[in-house]
Structures are given as structure tokens and as C-alpha cells.
């Protein structure tokens, strides 16, 4: 029995010579709300396609609840696709009626609740729904499956701020009350910061930052050094991950040996040194910019 909902080791995938994944490792603990971050084209959707069994990795392995992503495992997964497309010839009620029999643990209570909360019109055909409404319908379909794992590709895409808030609240409630693992990709760093317990930032097909959000915030510091006489070329001690120069200031993002870097900075003549914790946005931007 594994305590990981998702485990990916060394995933590699190329499309026509273009590398989409370059040895991606993932470990998503059961019960976590796991934010999956990266720029467009970083490999997020490719990873999700491999996890769902839609595509195969060229190298490496992906397991869900310890098994390869086969049909039986998908009974335990709720899924929201990136483009939120559903069968255009069905109504909201039709697509619910269609999906329900595939899932023995279908939750009628959640179905009713989300139909009401999201104000979804049962008799409206899918093409007549806005993207936001389709997002809500897909969330309803994913959650009502009674799934132990939700894989959500940009779940709040197309939603207005009030609806985003509503969806995030529901996801937190679901994780808290049912112990559901939620693995979601998003470009909205503020919403990830609001609900995620763990994050991974991927860039060019591999993980560049991973851990619990609390640990990462504790671990990373930004050290700003202002040089009164202009910036000099300095060889920094170990631990400086990303160094950026802006005029007479050097900004260092450090994940370890923070004290050593601060001590080195203070030993330099005519400098002012400050350090502060970083936001998820800073952490993300620093890593994807540099890489």
C-alpha cells in the first residue's frame, strides 16, 4: 500500500524531436492539495495526459495509487480537461446521466449540491454554456464520481473572481471532509497559494522546485544587497540559486546556506544587506526566468 497518490519517476517525452518532458519526477502524497505550476509549454498538460493514460512516456514510469494508469484506476480519479469540452449534443442532465453509471461510488448528494451551488441549468445544451459554466459542470462531474484523486487541468479557467473563490472553497472543503487528493495545474499563483499544501514548479519538462508550500516559504529567502559604489563581480558562496542585478542592487534567491550568503554580503565594503521571505509568485518567476 503506497501513501502516494501519484508517483512519476524520470518521465521523458518528445514530440517530433521537441522535448516536452526531460526526466520529470513527481511524488504527490495522498490527501494533499498539490499545485502543479509551470509556464505554457513547460510540460504540464503532457504530464497529465501521461498520468491519465492518454499518452505514453518515452522513458520513466507514472503510477497512480501504485498502479499504472489503466481503466480500473480511472474509476478512482476525477478529471477536468484543459479545454473543458464535453459532448456538444448533450444537455447538462444528459452528461450527468451518461457519466453516473461508470462510477459505482457516484455521489448523488454532491451532484445535487453542486448543481445548486453552481447554478447549472440541467436542460441547457453544452455548446450554449459559457466556458465558466462548463468548468463548473466538469468540476461537478469530477467531484461526484466519488473519486479519491482529482486531476484538474486549469480548473478555474474561464471563471469570474467570485466563482473562483467559490470553487476554491469547495475544493478545500472536499479535501478536508473526504480526504480527496487534489492535483491541479494553474497559472493563477494567488489561488495556488491560497489552497495548495504542496507545489511543484516545472520548467522545460523537469521539476525545478518541489515541496510543501510552508517549507518552501520558510526555506527560501530573498537577499538584497545594495552597493554604494556600484556592483562588483563577486563569486558567491554555495546556496545562491538565482542572482539578478538591478542597477546598484543585487538580488539573490537562496534556498540554503542563507546565513552564509548574508555573512558574505555583509563582509563586502559599503553595502546594505536585507533579507526577506518570498512569495510563491517570486519563487515561480525566479525559477522559470532563470531556467
Amino acid at each position: 500500500m503506497t501513501d502516494l497518490a501519484i508517483e512519476a519517476i524520470g518521465l521523458r517525452k518528445s514530440f517530433k524531436g521537441q522535448q516536452a518532458l526531460a526526466g520529470l519526477d513527481l511524488a504527490v502524497p495522498q490527501g494533499s492539495i498539490f499545485g502543479f505550476l509551470g509556464r505554457n509549454g513547460a510540460g504540464k498538460t503532457t504530464t497529465i495526459r501521461i498520468l491519465m493514460g492518454f499518452a505514453k512516456a518515452d522513458e520513466g514510469s507514472a503510477r497512480i495509487f501504485g498502479s499504472f494508469p489503466v481503466a480500473e484506476i480511472r474509476r478512482r480519479i476525477g478529471f477536468v480537461t484543459e479545454d473543458k469540452e464535453l459532448y456538444p449534443y448533450m444537455t447538462v442532465a444528459d452528461v450527468i446521466r451518461f457519466t453516473r453509471p461508470f462510477f459505482p461510488k457516484w455521489r448523488d448528494d454532491l451532484e445535487r449540491r453542486y448543481l445548486r451551488t453552481f447554478d447549472l441549468p440541467p436542460n441547457k445544451k453544452i455548446p450554449h454554456l459559457s466556458k465558466g459554466m462548463r468548468s463548473k459542470l466538469m468540476l461537478l462531474l469530477a467531484v461526484s464520481r466519488g473519486a479519491e484523486l482529482l486531476i484538474l487541468d486549469e480548473p478555474t479557467d474561464g471563471l469570474d473572481p467570485a466563482a473562483i473563490e467559490e470553487v476554491l472553497r469547495e475544493l478545500i472543503a472536499l479535501a478536508a471532509s473526504e480526504g480527496t487528493t487534489i492535483f491541479f495545474s494553474s497559472h493563477q499563483l494567488a489561488e495556488v497559494e491560497q489552497i495548495a499544501s504542496h507545489i511543484v514548479i516545472i520548467d522545460k519538462g523537469r521539476a525545478v522546485v518541489t515541496g510543501t508550500l510552508d517549507d518552501l516559504k520558510k526555506r527560501y529567502q530573498r537577499i538584497s544587497i545594495v552597493f554604494a559604489d556600484g556592483v562588483r563581480d563577486i563569486r558567491w558562496v554555495d546556496g545562491a540559486e538565482h542572482i539578478r542585478q538591478e542597477g546598484r542592487m543585487i538580488s539573490i534567491l537562496a534556498g540554503r546556506n542563507i546565513e552564509g550568503i548574508i555573512a558574505q554580503a555583509r563582509s563586502l565594503p559599503r553595502t546594505t544587506v536585507e533579507s526577506h521571505s518570498v512569495t510563491l509568485k517570486e519563487l515561480f518567476l525566479d525559477h522559470v526566468r532563470t531556467n
Binding site: 491519465m52 492518454f54 505514453k56 480511472r74 478529471f79 480537461t81 459532448y87 457519466t99
Partner: protein, 232 residues
Amino acid sequence: MLWMKGWYETRVRFLLLIAGTLVAAAVTSSDSIAQAGLAPQQLDATTLIGLSALASILLAGAGIKTQPGGVRPSKGLHGSMYYTLSLPVTRSRLFGVRVSLGLAQTAIIHVLACIAVWLVRPAIRLHADPFDLLKHDIAAFFFVVAVYSLGVFFATFLDDVYQTWANMFTMMSFIVIMNRIPLPRSLDGLFVLSVASPLITHTMPWMMLAALLALSATLLLISIRIVHWREY
């Protein structure tokens, strides 16, 4: 539920094809044409049954890709394929249900076409023994199944529009090749359904049936391999 989905996706073209078969049968009746004051037109038995072969191309589907619910492709078709793939269903089952449904619809249209041929036989001056006509219909159905399997094969890797064109092109190429290469005539489905039809020879073309069955089975087996191997 997969049957329901398949039905939703094929019902419009299926009903249109049934209507087309009935219209074709109606215009074959010289009485109705005479009453309408139109120039007499006659479709022979092969042409009418050829309609079910055409129908089989239009009814073939890959089983994974969502197909247009109507006759026009609509928004969201390919995106919704990912929703289908996220269901706890094997690709074999998705493929099997869709292929079976299309085949059942093809069979219904074929039977309708055969009944239509029987009903309009005076108009098309078809003086055939009922058993010979039955043999012809059975042989024609094997031919239609082979055409359907070819449609399924193309549908596993081509979009709807290209699938129909690829099927037509393959059929035309087949006719040209059969006219140039001296293969045994008993293996030529079109030949056996026309000049060497059971209506004329009064015998069942067993060799052709075996060849068509083998061809259909091979195409469907290759198709299911493609469906398993393909990435979406």
C-alpha cells in the same frame, strides 16, 4: 451508456441514410415516376445495394474520437474525446461498442435496401429466384462489411472528412488495380456482385465471402491495435 453516446453521435446520419434508401427505392418505381410526370429512371439491384456500402462508410467510427452529433462537425468534438478517455473503460470496449453500433446500423440499412430491391423488382425488371436474390444479398452484405471495416480502419487515425475521402480513394484504387492485375475473379467483390452475381450464376460465391471476411477481420484487428497504440 456508451451505446447511448454512440447513438447520439450517429442517429442523424443513420436516419438520413434510411431516408435516402427509401427515396432511392421510391424513385426506382416507374409507376410513381410516371404519375409525377418525370422521366423514367431505374436503379438496378446493385446500385441500390451500393447505397448501403456508401452508408457503411459514413457510419464507420473509430470509437474513441467523439463524432459530430449532426451532419456538421460542431465545437468541442475533439476536446470531449479526453472526457471519454477519462472514463474507467478500456479502449477495446470503446472501440467495440462504436464498431458494433455502426455495423448494426449498416446491417439495418442493408436489409432495408434488400427489401426495397425485392419490392421494386418489377420496376427494375428483375426476374430473379428469391433464393438467388437472398444469396446475392448475403454476398453483398459481406462486401458492405469489408467496406465498413475499411472505414473503421481509416477512422482510427483520420478525421471524419478525410476518412470518407480516403475510403473513396481506396475503393477507386481497388477497382483500377483489379482491372489491371490478373487476380482470381472470385476474389473481386465488385465482379462477383455484378456479372458473376448469384443472380446469374445461381451459386454462393464462397471464395469471395471467405476473402472478404478475412479482409474485414484483418482490418478490424489492425484498427484495434492502432486504437491501443495511439496517443491522444
